[in-house]
Symmetry: C2
Subunit: 158 residues, 2 copies
């Protein structure tokens, strides 16, 4: 909380934490075993998720995907899984598979039901135009997943 | 065909090609763009899938999983997908994700339905006691997948 206030005072724009942004922060802070992010504001943690079109063009898609980028991709899909879990009580798993060329799959599933299926490309450049976009796109995937979980509850609970 | 006969003549035991073993061979020969396996008998191609308990103990689980082992894991699950496709007409995808410690997931899915969900561990030591075991275990996963595809056709076709 104090980090949140600090951030609000330090920057001009107030950060609006939507449920999805909160879910991402929870994933990152929850996995922060060594307290690396303890003193970071929410805004600072979320900042690397913002990659403008201009910035994307500057990121090379040669070589391996940066481990920090990979862990952001993981946090994003784990946040989607956590949001669906909040709403349905279904426990879900996340599998992200990115090859050396930045292509791959991100899957979120409960039981035998795939709640999210997303093909990844140019994973090196993973990011969103703004926090609003990040939140909106994440929440769209959450909604689609929730819709499926409601339509096929017997498959999600296998 | 000629490779098959050659193999039959060369070895003492006749190789019985079950539908599952045929599916594995088809995956490997089908991906053999450079003709690496063209002169290999079926038996020779399948041989590395046989890893006895004794041999498993000798394989270190330190370091990265051998690329050849990874491609056998892929061929195995792609063969399962192909068998299910033969029987149902459902197009399926295979995602295999193994981390540096040899742990991971193998998933086969059609639409939003997970036909196979398998956690992998000690992937370095992937293999089967015999060709019969390989065929039987693969076919068991095929049967389970078929059962799910029949129970939830509307999820598999999304």
């Amino acid at each position: 909380m104090s980090a949140n206030n600090l951030n609000g005072n330090a920057s001009n724009t107030e950060l609006t934490l939507t449920p999805f942004l909160k879910a991402i922060l929870m994933q990152i802070r929850g996995q922060d075993t060594y307290g690396f992010y303890r003193s970071w504001s929410d805004e600072l943690i979320l900042k690397p998720f913002i990659v403008t079109k201009q910035k994307k063009r500057e990121i090379s898609v040669e070589g391996e995907v940066d481990p920090a980028t990979l862990s952001r991709i993981n946090a994003y899909f784990r946040a989607i899984a956590a949001r669906i879990e909040q709403e349905t009580g279904l426990i879900s798993n996340v599998v992200v598979n990115v090859n050396h060329e930045g292509f791959g799959w991100a899957l979120v599933f409960s039981g035998r039901l795939l709640l999210v299926v997303k093909t990844l490309r140019d994973a090196h450049r993973f990011g969103f135009e703004s926090l609003e976009k990040l939140s909106a796109e994440g929440e769209t995937l959450v909604e689609k997943g929730l819709d499926l979980a409601k339509r096929f509850p017997e498959v999600g609970k296998i």
